[in-house]
Structures are given as C-alpha cells and as structure tokens.
C-alpha cells in the first residue's frame, strides 16, 4: 500500500523498572480506517496509547504523523498534533453544559476576551449534525445519560480537530442499542477522514466494525489481520497465545432436588412508588444452571439484593432447601450454603487494600480452619490461598500481594475462587466475567459448568446475552421487573431471547 499512514508508531519500546511494557511495537493507522487494538489486560495497549497521547515517553522508537516525526512531551502536544482520545472514564465537568464542556479550553472569543458561546454552540451543532452525534447542547453533563456523555467526549475531540481518535473500551458502559449507534458514528468519522483506534478486549465487537485488527500480547504486536480474514477463534488464539475454547462443551443437565424457590417476590421503591420486582417466581434445582437474561436495570440488582439478604422484599418468599430464608441475614445465608459472585467485584466482592489471602477467606474468616476466637491461623489461611490461587490461575508472585495491585481479570478470579471453593448448595453468579479477558472467561465458564456437574444449583445473572445462552440450562428473561419469558437452553434462540429482552413477548409466543 503506497498510502502514507496518518499515524505511524515505529519501534516503540517502553521499559519500566521491572518490566518491558512495550517491546519494539509498530502500529500504523491509515486514512479512513477503523483499527481494532486487541489484547488482554496488561498486554501493553494502554501504555502504547499513553505514549501516543503524550502521557508517557517511549524509551526508544518514534512517532510519525503523515510521515513527519513528532515528539510529545505532554498530552497538550499530542492534542495540538491532532490526537484525540476518549477515555473509559469520562473527563467532563458535570455542572457545566454540554456545549461548555466541548469548547472548554478552546473557547471562541469575542473582542476583549469575552466568551462567544453563540458561535461555539453553532460550531458544535454543525459538527454534531454532520456526524450524527446527537447531544442536547444546553443540558448539564450531570443530567445526561452515559451514552450521550460519550458522544460529548467524541465531539470534544473532533472540535479540537482531531486527526485520529482513540476510543478506550468505549462499549463497556453502553446498552446494545447505544453500541449500534456508536458503531455508526465511528464509521461516519472514519469516512470523513478521522481514522479510529478502537481498544477493546472483546472479540465480537471487533469483527464487523473494524477494518483491520492489531493484536498485542505481553508488550509485543503479535500481528495485524484484515477483518475479512479474522474469526473469533483466530483472534483469541493470537491474543492468548494458545487455542481458546469459545464455546463451552457441556453435557445435558441432570437436575435433581429443588434448591432455591422464589415465590411471588415483589420489591417496590418507597420513594418513587415504582415496582422494581413484580411477583417473580422461579426455581433452581441442584445440578442445573438457570440464567437470568435482561438489559441492565430491569430488576436484576433488586433480585440479587433480595437473594443475598441485603434487602427485604415487600412481598413473596425465598426458600433454600425447603427452609424459608426470606428474612435471614447475609451471614445466615452463607452458613446455609449460598455463595455469591457479586456484580461489582471492587464494590462488593473485594477489599482492595487487603492481601489476596485475606480476600480469599473473606466470609469464611471465622471458620474453625482459619481462626479461633482470639487468633487467626495464618498458616492455614496462606496455604489455602496458595491452593486456590493455583487452582484458579490467579497470577501474582504470592498470596501476600495486595488485591489492588492485580489486574481486573485476576481480581475477578480471586472472587470466583473464593465463592466457588465453598461447600455450597447454591451459587449466584452475577456478571461473573465482567471485564475479564477471553482466556479467563473460558476458565470461569468451565468452572461454573463443573460446579453444576458436581450437583450445585447455579443461578446466573448476566446482561451478556452470549454468556447466558451458552451456559444456561434454562433461561428466564427479566423485563421491567417481571419474568417476561422462560425457555430451555436448547430451544433458546438469540432472536427470541433478544425480543423478550426488548419487551416484545407476544411476537414470539
């Protein structure tokens, strides 16, 4: 291809005291393309992008823009050369309006240095119209939904005349519909001459939206493939370095006795008088996986809170193994055999400033194996932690490492290891693979199926439809606090379940 790349990063090496984060990395971005940058957590994607954005300086190597070498000493330099970046966590000022945020730092001025917000609004409205980036210019950022905040970030970059736009894990915060919208915007920008670097560790997102995909592993570029030649299996293998089983192979379930019975569960919000869970009833038997599908915010949070004992329902009962636990607190439920992988590992699952070992015994820290009333048994705790770290492939030098120093995937494995190693009757797995990379997903899925096969009842609550479809023996779909449909795992199709998730029951009945 004789075309000059807009951006060429060549031979980029970044050495930190203990690790080579980027090892002679070459990356080119051509006009009009969407380039996927794929890699597991810790593969060096973020370091590379930090170098491109001027936040870090490479140990060696250089960056060329339209063939001209440039040197960035700060993000300011990079922005001046047309590098735009949308971070995972938005960098917006909540009390300011959308248009104020977009022009902040590059405001059009009238004579005498007065702000010219009318011109600003006009310019932004024009940009927004041209690329289909719908935003409410006069709304305050604190009042707008996440999807719009992201469009504001993109507009901010384009307003500063970005020549290339880096999107860091942009879909993590979006609903499926918003993701579709984002893809259209990305394409429109690329066609208008602003190529995109799309960072993700989700395979299915790349194929279909990118033109080319560059894969990184352990600080190196493993290769670049055209999307036409890419398959999820190929990408996964490049990313992880070995063959990855994307489809879990599982035997038919052999359900035994009923473990969990939820009957007529109703939860209302007293303040708004909204019914969040409306007369929900279902059962989970030993040796089966029941999946709860649904778009986030349709009652999953409330269901999980009630099941784990953190919230009392307004009506209905929960019973475990025949005994009513509706009013039992969390502690009692743990003792009766409910394990729980919470949705948000950092908020509910881990104590980040504790060691791996202390997190692994969290909840069981008073068990006779691990403590008497006056002394914890540190040897037993350490050896148990080491055993679980090995069994669940938690990568750290030893069990005394603080969990805050682990990658997201390894943090999730700590939670999974803890909850899956208990002697438990019911496992509630909420978003068990959120934010973990493809190798770890395979591993966690395998373990969930193994637990089922050992006779544990599993309730899987996930907004990842693929995950629910793959693992569940039975699928229930939550819509606005109701179970809108139920189907067995074999008979479920993406179309049916997808329609139910959007609230269309009658179409498929």
């Amino acid at each position: 291809m004789p075309v000059t790349p807009i951006i060429e990063m060549s031979g980029i090496t970044k050495v930190f005291p203990l690790v080579v984060a980027n090892d002679h990395v070459d990356l080119e971005v051509y006009p009009g393309e969407i380039l996927g940058l794929l890699g597991e957590n810790g593969a060096g994607k973020s370091v590379l992008m930090s170098i491109l954005y001027g936040l870090l300086q490479p140990t060696s190597g250089q960056i060329l823009i339209n063939g001209e070498p440039v040197e960035f000493n700060s993000a300011h330099d990079a922005i001046a050369e047309g590098i735009g970046m949308v971070h995972q966590h938005f960098m917006l000022v909540p009390p300011l309006t959308v248009v104020e945020n977009i022009v902040l730092g590059a405001e059009p001025k009238r004579s005498g240095g007065r702000l010219d917000m009318e011109t600003a609004a006009k310019q932004v409205a024009e940009l927004s119209r041209r690329h289909g980036l719908e935003v409410d210019l006069q709304a305050r950022v604190e009042d707008i939904p996440v999807g719009m905040a992201q469009r504001v970030e993109i507009l901010k970059a384009i307003y500063r005349e970005a020549r290339v736009l880096v999107l860091d894990e942009p879909t993590a915060v979006l609903t499926p519909q918003e993701v579709e919208g984002l893809y259209r915007i990305m394409r429109s920008l690329a066609d208008a001459g602003v190529p995109i670097i799309f960072i993700t560790h989700k395979l299915h997102e790349l194929i279909g939206v990118c033109d080319r995909i560059t894969v990184m592993r352990r600080g190196k570029v493993i290769g670049s493939v055209d999307t036409d030649d890419a398959t999820p299996a190929l990408l996964a293998e490049m990313m992880v370095g070995r063959e990855v089983i994307l489809e879990i192979d599982k035997a038919p379930a052999t359900p035994a006795e009923t473990v969990l019975v939820v009957d007529g569960l109703t939860v209302r919000n007293d303040d708004t008088d909204r019914t969040l869970l409306d007369n929900i009833s279902f059962e989970v038997k030993a040796g089966e996986i029941v999946g709860i599908a649904g778009i986030a915010g349709n009652g999953q949070d409330e269901l999980l809170d009630v099941l784990s004992g953190l919230r009392m329902p307004e009506a209905g009962t929960v019973s475990l193994g025949g005994s009513d636990v509706t009013h039992a607190d969390r502690r009692k439920r743990i003792r009766l055999g409910i394990s729980m992988i919470p949705q948000d590992r950092q908020r509910e699952g881990l104590i980040l400033s504790f060691t791996i070992a202390d997190n692994i015994v969290l909840g069981e820290h008073r068990d006779a194996t691990f403590a008497t009333r006056i002394k914890r048994n540190f040897e037993a705790i350490s050896s148990y932690a080491r055993k679980l770290m090995k069994a669940f492939d938690v990568r750290a030098s030893d069990e005394t490492v603080l969990v805050s120093n682990l990658s997201g995937g390894n943090q999730q494995k700590v939670v999974v290891a803890r909850e899956m190693s208990r002697d438990t009757k019911l496992l509630i797995a909420a978003q068990p693979t959120r934010g973990v990379d493809v190798g770890a997903i395979e591993f966690i899925h395998r373990n969930i199926v193994d637990m089922r096969d050992r006779g544990t009842a599993v309730l899987l609550v996930s907004t990842e439809l693929d995950e629910v479809m793959q693992l569940s023996d039975r699928i229930l779909v939550l819509f606005r606090g109701r179970v809108i449909g139920e189907v067995s795992g074999d008979e479920a199709t993406l179309e049916t379940v997808g329609l139910w998730m959007a609230g269309h029951r009658e179409v498929s009945a």
């Binding site: 005291p17 936040l55 953190l310 969390r330 908020r347 002394k375 990658s407 390894n410």
Partner: protein
C-alpha cells in the same frame, strides 16, 4: 476506586507486581520527613525571633532525657498519650474518627477517683477494680456515639466531640457537688484516693508510675486484636469496604459499635491510670488535653501500634523538654505547640511530599484506572 499513589507500572500493567518498599517503611519515612520539616521550620522561627535553635533543641533533649528524673517524667508524660493515641488508632483502623478521647479519658479518671475514694480493698484488687471501672465507663461513653452512628446515622466526629462537652459539665457537677471532698476549705475536688488504689511509682525520684506498664500491655493487646484476631480482621474490613464486608456476612453496625466501645475503653483506662498513678484526686478543671494531642500522635504514628508508641514518646519528650527550652535557651514554650501543630500539618498533607514525584506517572495511571 483508582489507586493514585502507586508507581505507574502497577496501575498500567496489572499483572506485574512491583517489589516496592513495604508500606511500613514508606509510612515511617513520611513521618520522619514530616518531623524534620516541622523542626526545621521551628528553627527558622527561632532564628527570626533571635534565638539559637541549636541551643534550644539541645536544651530540649537534655531536659527531657538528660538525667534519670527528667527521663522518668518524660515517660510519665508519654503514658496517657499511649492510651489516647491507641484510642484513635483503633478507631481509624475501622475508619472511625473518635475525637472524644478527651471526654472518655476524663470520665474514666472520674470513675477511678470514685472507686479510689469510696471503697476499701487490698491494694492489687482495689487498683485493679479502679482501672477496670475506668475502662468500662470510657467504653460506654464512646459506645453511645457508636450506637448513634450505627442506628441513627449520626456522624461520630460530631457525637464524640459533643460528648466531650457533656463529660466536662457532668464532671464539673460531680466534683463541685456529690463527689466533692468534705473539708473546711471549699475546694472543688474529690478526696484523695486510698493508698490501696494508687499505682506504685516505679522510677523514683520521678513520678513515673506502673501505669507505663499497663500502657505497654494495652498496646500489645491492641496490636494483637487488630492484627491477629478475626475481630480485628473484621474491623479493618468494615473500615476499608463496608459493602464487601456486609456481602461477606460481617455485620458492619455491630462491628462499628464494638470498635467504638473498645476505642473508648482504652481512653477510659488511660484516665484511670493517670488518676491512680499521677493525680490521685480529681480536681476541677483537670484538662490535660491528652485526647487532643492524641490526634497528632495517631496521625504521626500512622495508626499502627509501634507508630503510636514512638509518636507518644516523641510528644512526651516535647512536653517535658519545653520548660527546659524556655529556661535554658529563652525560647517560649509555645514554640513546642507550634512544632506539634506543624507535625500534624505535614503528616496530614502527604501530597506535599508527592510533589517531588513525577506528576505524569499519576496522570497515566489515572487513564488505566
């Protein structure tokens, strides 16, 4: 959620575990830097007012640890600070700010005075009961703030400070009324406690009492509680992430009340120790400020037991040496208060020190976090 203080590589590349300095060493280093800065600024102020800082600081040292008597007095000053420093440190471990150590200490002292005056018993039992009663009263006093926090959501900073005032006025009432010594002289104080309720002096000619030993035993017990017991684990867990603790079956409300009670009982015990060891009667206006200096002690000691012991000793030296500085080097005792305040200032502004680090690493870390 973002851990901003780490070196950049940890945050950027999660799988890599950097072997950096253990947190204890980092904390010690920061405390020492804060101290050095405080003393340096103190010296500058002395130069400005035309005094010789070298002379002043050597006077500070010789008059606090220079001879047997001074050293004993220094340790006697240190003893209550160990108790109140531990009071705050235990609370901080569960992220509770018990600013009521002063009131809890004085209530414990009053209770010990009451036991010492009103009963008779063989020495070890009498003094033991006085100490125990002081601890219980201190624990109940702070437990009140714990209950208000756990069940009514009253912030413990507000309630413990308010309870200080309640304690001051209650004690005023007691020593001018029901517990006032009956003599011809109308002095607002209790009678002297019985000899059997006094802690023995262990380092004559100084007034250092066996209270120091009680303090060291308490420090060991607190260290054990926090670091070795399941309850200590729970209180640290609740302090760091109450949601995760609750999800793991720990009851944060129960732990909160318990920690507040333990914390206050240490202050109460400290009060009983100074009553049975040093003061031997409760005089109106007894307002030694140990509970407030404790904030500095706990901060400087980074809420660890060894740290609190070291910091308490330092503040004991400062308190004892201040007079020597005034008489020998003609530096006002208030200078010591200024240095204490500067220590608090520098310890509580760690970002001042972080300025020396490269800022860019932090920005990069934020990206990934």
């Amino acid at each position: 959620m973002s851990q901003m203080h780490g070196s950049s590589i940890d945050d950027l590349n999660g799988d890599v575990v950097a072997t950096r300095l253990p947190p204890g060493v980092v904390h010690l280093g920061r405390s020492l830097v804060a101290l050095a800065l405080a003393f340096a600024l103190g010296a500058v102020v002395m130069l400005i007012i035309g005094r010789n800082p070298i002379e002043a600081y050597s006077a500070l040292i010789t008059s606090s640890v220079g001879d047997k008597f001074s050293f004993g007095e220094t340790l006697e000053n240190t003893t209550p600070l160990i108790f109140t420093g531990l009071t705050l440190a235990v609370g901080f471990q569960a992220r509770l700010f018990n600013l009521g150590a002063e009131g809890q200490l004085l209530m414990g002292a009053l209770m010990a005075a009451y036991i010492g005056v009103s009963f008779n018993a063989p020495a070890p039992i009498h003094v033991g009961v006085a100490l125990l009663a002081g601890a219980i009263v201190g624990g109940l006093w702070s437990g009140l703030a714990g209950v208000l926090l756990a069940f009514r959501g009253v912030h413990e900073v507000i309630s413990t400070i308010m309870l200080n005032f309640v304690a001051f006025f209650f004690i005023n009432y007691m020593v001018t009324g029901p517990m006032k010594e009956v003599t011809e002289l109308d002095i607002p104080q209790t009678a002297k406690i019985a000899g059997s309720a006094m802690l023995p002096r262990i380092f004559p000619p100084s007034r250092l009492s066996a209270g120091l030993i009680v303090a060291l035993v308490t420090a060991t017990a607190v260290w054990w509680l926090v670091m070795k017991t399941p309850l200590g684990y729970e209180l640290r867990a609740v302090g760091r992430n109450p949601d995760a603790a609750r999800q793991a079956g720990i009851r944060p409300k129960r732990v909160t009340v318990l920690v507040m009670m333990i914390s206050g009982s240490i202050a109460g015990l400290g009060g009983a120790v100074i009553m049975t060891g040093l003061f031997q009667r409760y005089q109106q206006g007894l307002n030694p400020g140990f509970g407030f200096t404790a904030i500095a002690v706990a901060l400087l000691g980074r809420n660890t037991v060894p740290g609190v012991l070291a910091a308490a000793l330092l503040f004991g030296v400062l308190a004892q040496g201040a007079r020597g500085m005034q008489t020998i080097a003609d530096v006002p005792t208030d200078t010591i208060l200024m240095i204490q305040a500067l220590v608090i200032f520098f310890v509580s502004t760690p970002h001042l020190l972080a300025l020396f680090k490269r800022r860019r690493a932090a920005v990069a870390a934020e990206m990934e976090a």
